[in-house]
């Protein structure tokens, strides 16, 4: 009956998960603040409340994400690549390839049957293959990231976007918008540009077998579908829990193995 916790402080959101016997009993996603310790505390407080337990009851907590060094209550910190792999494995047990797209980076990894990473790659060029890209674009379109994901379905003639710089792509979007092109076509173009960048990464680790997608962008159906087309593989989006929680879940699982 041990309780373990994972806390993933990302660039955009902080996530905390409480697990008991391999089940999630509480979770929380909050927006990241300028100070990671505050984000971590907020997320953890929310998760604890949801689980109706106290921090003292938690046997071990593992931290991950960009802010991991600053989380006050963790026993150990682990790289988010390892955590996402473990989390994805728990979410989709057959997963052998994991694509995680978060706020400011995108990772593709191949994992073994224990959820250990065999090969991975992350984008290190520019933000244009990351969740930030979508956030910026959604803002320009005046819609939420949720809606952006749904736009692809209604598109007739998706536009082509300059995709090497987020800020320049933004200029393109404004131009299209102003010239009266349907929002759905622009939205689909955005999702395609994003999927294109991600496909390069996924293909470089040679996406294999069951591909699973985690991180906030997994909730964007337009990106997921386009990516699936580009890769020529079905992509499973976890249903067992919010895919954005994958890192925190992995951390909680690793906490249980300490």
């Amino acid at each position: 009956m041990t309780l373990t916790a994972g806390c993933d402080v990302g660039s955009l959101t902080a996530k905390a998960v409480i697990m008991r016997d391999g089940r999630i009993i509480g979770a929380q996603v909050v927006k990241s603040r300028a100070k990671p310790e505050i984000s971590a505390k907020e997320a953890m407080a929310g998760a604890l409340t949801a689980a109706r337990v106290a921090l003292e009851d938690v046997a071990a907590c593992v931290g991950t994400g960009y802010g991991r060094e600053k989380i006050p209550f963790v026993k150990e910190v682990v790289s988010e690549i390892a955590c996402h792999a473990k989390g994805a494995k728990w979410l989709v047990s057959s997963a052998r390839t994991v694509i995680d797209i978060g706020g400011q980076d995108c990772k593709a990894m191949r994992i073994d049957e224990h959820g250990e990473v065999i090969k991975f790659i992350t984008n290190d060029k520019c933000a244009s293959g990351t969740g930030r890209f979508l956030d910026v674009m959604a803002r320009v379109l005046g819609i939420s990231v949720d809606e952006l994901g749904r736009l692809s379905a209604g598109a007739k003639q998706p536009v082509t976007l300059a995709s090497t710089c987020t800020v320049w792509a933004q200029a393109d979007v404004i131009k299209y918008l102003n010239s009266g092109i349907a929002v759905a076509d622009i939205g689909a173009g955005i999702n395609i540009a994003m999927a294109n960048r991600v496909a390069i990464l996924a293909n470089s680790v040679k996406a294999e077998h069951d591909v699973c997608m985690t991180g906030g962008v997994a909730k964007n159906n337009g990106v997921v579908q386009t990516l699936a087309q580009l890769l020529g593989r079905r992509i499973t989006v976890p249903r067992k829990a919010d895919p954005q929680l994958a890192g925190a879940i992995g951390a909680a699982i690793i906490a249980g193995q300490l």
Binding site: L161, A162, N196, N203, S204, G232
Partner: protein, 466 residues
Amino acid sequence: MRPELKEYHYDWMLWRILAPASRVADGSAKELTHMYRYAPYFKGILQPILQEGAVGSTFLKMMTRYMENLNTAHRRGKKIAITTFCFSPAICYALDVVPVTLEVVTAVGGLMWKRGTFDYLDYACEIGFTETSCSSQRGALGAYLAGLGEEIDMVLCDTPGICDTNANAFAFAAAYLKKPFYHLNYPQGLADQRTEKYHVDDYKAMIRFMEEHSGNRLDQDRLREILREVDRQDALLADLEELHRLIPAPLPPIYNVFNYVGRFLFSGSPEYTRLLEQMVKKVRENVVARRSGLNSGKEKLRAFLCYIDHYSLNWNFWNWMDTRGIAHMGGILSRGFRDNACYTAELPGSSYSLDMGSLETMLDSIAQMNARLPMVRSIRGPYDQPNMWLEESLAVAKMFQADFMIYNGTPGCRNTWGMVKPFAREIEKHGYPVHIMYADAFDDRVESWAATQERLNEFLQVRGLL
């Protein structure tokens, strides 16, 4: 790469589109409509080509022949070499090796499909070839690296010492595909004796390499025959260039594409001579009628492209020029520095001549020809040295009475991006407004055409050109 694309060979697809296109050139209107339906995106470029009448039809047939040659090479027992532009393929024809000039083949793909060569560009990155490399090789190379083309038997390039990213593409391909590799190397000199000896030594070693890997021997008579053809082509090119100086310029902008493709795929082959003859004929007609080569009919400005002379994503760039009454005065890359070319008079010591006397003189000439292809010379060394980028751009621009210059390249081009800022500054001092395009001539995902066009328009407006 999208899985469905893996079902098709790159060069086979090009062939399958070019073949019917070249047939409809002489066909009925109905056939043409049908063809457009079959290749909707190709229409954008096919239309302007067909509009050129006999020239366009010859061009399409020539391209089809090339693709047929390539696609059937192995069946006919021939070897295939990938090569680079700014390398004269005449030597390949002399040795009966089929050349695949990556940059040209990339450009053709870019013009033909809606997504250009994007998938192949990306594929190259997927297997670890750097994304920052020059897209002109990366496009078609992606296909060959993916095994989606005829198998390559050898790799030849002539860019070490000129352009790293280009040479690197070929070295990478050779190592990746485990194929024999030869490179011509250009040290810092241009035309002094020591340099010329180096070029000839290197060239001869390349011929030995080609002989070894093709199983063919260089036949002196065949070489002479091919060089005679080259000689005819050079004379025709010199004519065209001379005529192009007239105001209004009588050459249609698209001739620039015909030439680019011709020189780097067909140098020394009779088809290209025929094409050039037809081009000269048409241009002379224009001269007699005092007609501008522009579709819009009225020449307002003359642009010189101080680098790559084509933007090969659909027809937009040419169209943009045409509709604004801008005559395309060619680029530095369309020059060959043969002794009869008009601009060489302005540039002492820049030219070479063809001497078909003996094998020795032929090899000398052909090595010199190769060492004078524009990228191999103009852009090789410091731009401010004699007979290099600055001087030659100025001389050619003056000769053709250009009003302004445009730099068009690819972000992959370390070679020119390393010096284009001081270069532009210097050119401006000589009174030519210069516009530096940040776009990629082979990949509009770097900068969309809409954005590129807006910048071009702004340039014309702000600099008071229109």
